[in-house]
């Protein structure tokens, strides 16, 4: 089943579910489906029970900090009575968010991977996403790892604790803006 078919299947089974295709422009061309977080758990059930993706092999996180995108737009304007093409650069700020990526396979159909993503609203206070551990048990430890290193809170996870760092650690080391403690690397800190 292609991604387009899966996307329309999701939208047919779950009214209001958004399953947007995220195009990967690299030579691998591995496109993915961006599912809205409200329908995340229900969509996962459809993917497992109806599409047949019975195995979740990998869960990972991505940190997208706030970034600026510059677009060049060509517009036609009248300058001194002559129509000319003028290039304008438009800067738009894309707010930051956290993203979780699941790689799904079908053992019974020998198919996959199907990559699905979910995104949080921002990187600071609204970082909750539905946990897919109730659907794929193999996601449990990997969601804990994403929680530990990226700070995404998984609603519905049976045992959401830090897995690599210790209890009481407050940072999320895999975020782009993570700074290690200053006295960590004395050899680099020296000044001439």
């Amino acid at each position: 089943m292609t991604l387009e078919e899966i996307s329309s299947r999701l939208q047919a089974s779950l009214p209001g579910c958004q399953a947007e295709m995220v195009v990967n422009g690299s030579p691998s061309g591995q496109n993915s489906l961006l599912i809205d977080r409200g329908h995340g758990l229900a969509a996962a059930r459809v993917l497992r029970d109806e599409v047949g993706l019975d195995y979740c092999s990998n869960v990972t996180g991505v940190d997208w900090p706030e970034r600026e995108k510059t677009d060049k737009i060509k517009t036609k304007q009248l300058v001194d009575g002559v129509e000319k093409e003028i290039e304008q650069t438009v800067k738009t700020t894309i707010p930051g968010y956290l993203e979780v990526v699941y790689h799904l396979f079908s053992i019974s159909d020998n198919a996959g991977p199907v990559v699905i993503r979910m995104r949080t609203v921002n990187r600071t206070d609204d970082v909750a996403l539905p946990s897919l551990t109730p659907v794929w048990r193999s996601a449990e430890f990997q969601e804990r790892e994403v929680f530990d290193l990226y700070g995404i809170v998984f609603d519905g996870h049976p045992d959401l604790r830090r897995i690599l760092m210790w209890e009481g650690f407050i940072d999320h080391p895999m975020r782009k803006d993570y700074v290690p403690p200053p006295d960590d690397d004395l050899e680099i800190a020296r000044e001439p």
């Binding site: 760092m165 210790w166 009481g168 940072d171 080391p173 290690p180 004395l186 050899e187 800190a189 020296r190």
Partner: protein, 204 residues
């Protein structure tokens, strides 16, 4: 005692030695390591103890599963910040005299994982290290060389005087503070009594 006189006496069937020599000879040939491996260097350490390299030739064949019976801690592998307190605690539980070999790039400096958020940048920040072995991982020959270096260090120690080893100096500690898990990293991030802070060394 003069070496020539000793040789001359031994020709007549008389063995002369000092208590210091006898004591150090006994110690250096029965250094029992702690059964303790952290990462891939531990595999090389295990290979060193096996028949091909045979660490038993040096009197170190018994790896003790209890720190109370061990003389030598071979820190073989990456020390994560989460593991560091346990490593220091194991060292504290070993009886004096005790020695530490930091085996491999990770144990001496953090190695290829130095920039990792959870990697301790060298175990010598918390416990005194007697021999450092570079390498990633060091070959068994390198570990044997480190072991022989440690034996040389032991046999060169004097039982009296200022140069006597740490365990014979009453005022020096045999236990070192165990770092605690903080909000951002280990607290303290190093033991200044043990670690020669390069910043302070440079500043004089």
């Amino acid at each position: 005692m003069d070496q020539d006189l000793k040789t001359e006496l031994s020709k007549h069937g008389i063995f002369a030695t000092t208590f210091e020599e006898l004591y150090n000879w006994g110690r250096k040939n029965s250094v029992w390591p702690l059964t303790f491996g952290l990462a891939c260097c531990a595999i090389e350490m295990i290979a060193t103890t096996m028949a091909r390299y045979d660490l038993a030739r040096f009197g170190a064949e018994v790896f003790r599963p209890s720190p109370r019976q061990a003389d030598l801690m071979i820190v073989s592998g990456t020390v994560t910040k989460k593991m560091a307190p346990q490593v220091v605690r194991l060292y504290n539980q070993m009886p004096e005299p005790k020695y530490v070999i930091a085996m491999g790039a990770c144990a001496i400096s953090g190695g290829p994982f130095r920039d990792g958020y959870n990697v301790l940048k060298g175990i010598d920040r918390f416990i005194p290290v007697d021999v450092h072995i570079p390498g990633c991982p060091p070959r068994p020959e390198a570990l044997i060389h480190a072991f022989m270096t440690l034996q040389d260090q032991i046999s060169a120690q004097h039982l009296t005087g200022e140069a006597r080893p740490r365990h014979l100096k009453q005022e020096l500690p045999s236990e070192f503070p165990v770092p605690e898990f903080g909000e951002h990293g280990l607290e303290p991030s190093q033991n200044d009594d043990v670690f020669r802070n390069p910043l302070k060394v440079l500043q004089g």
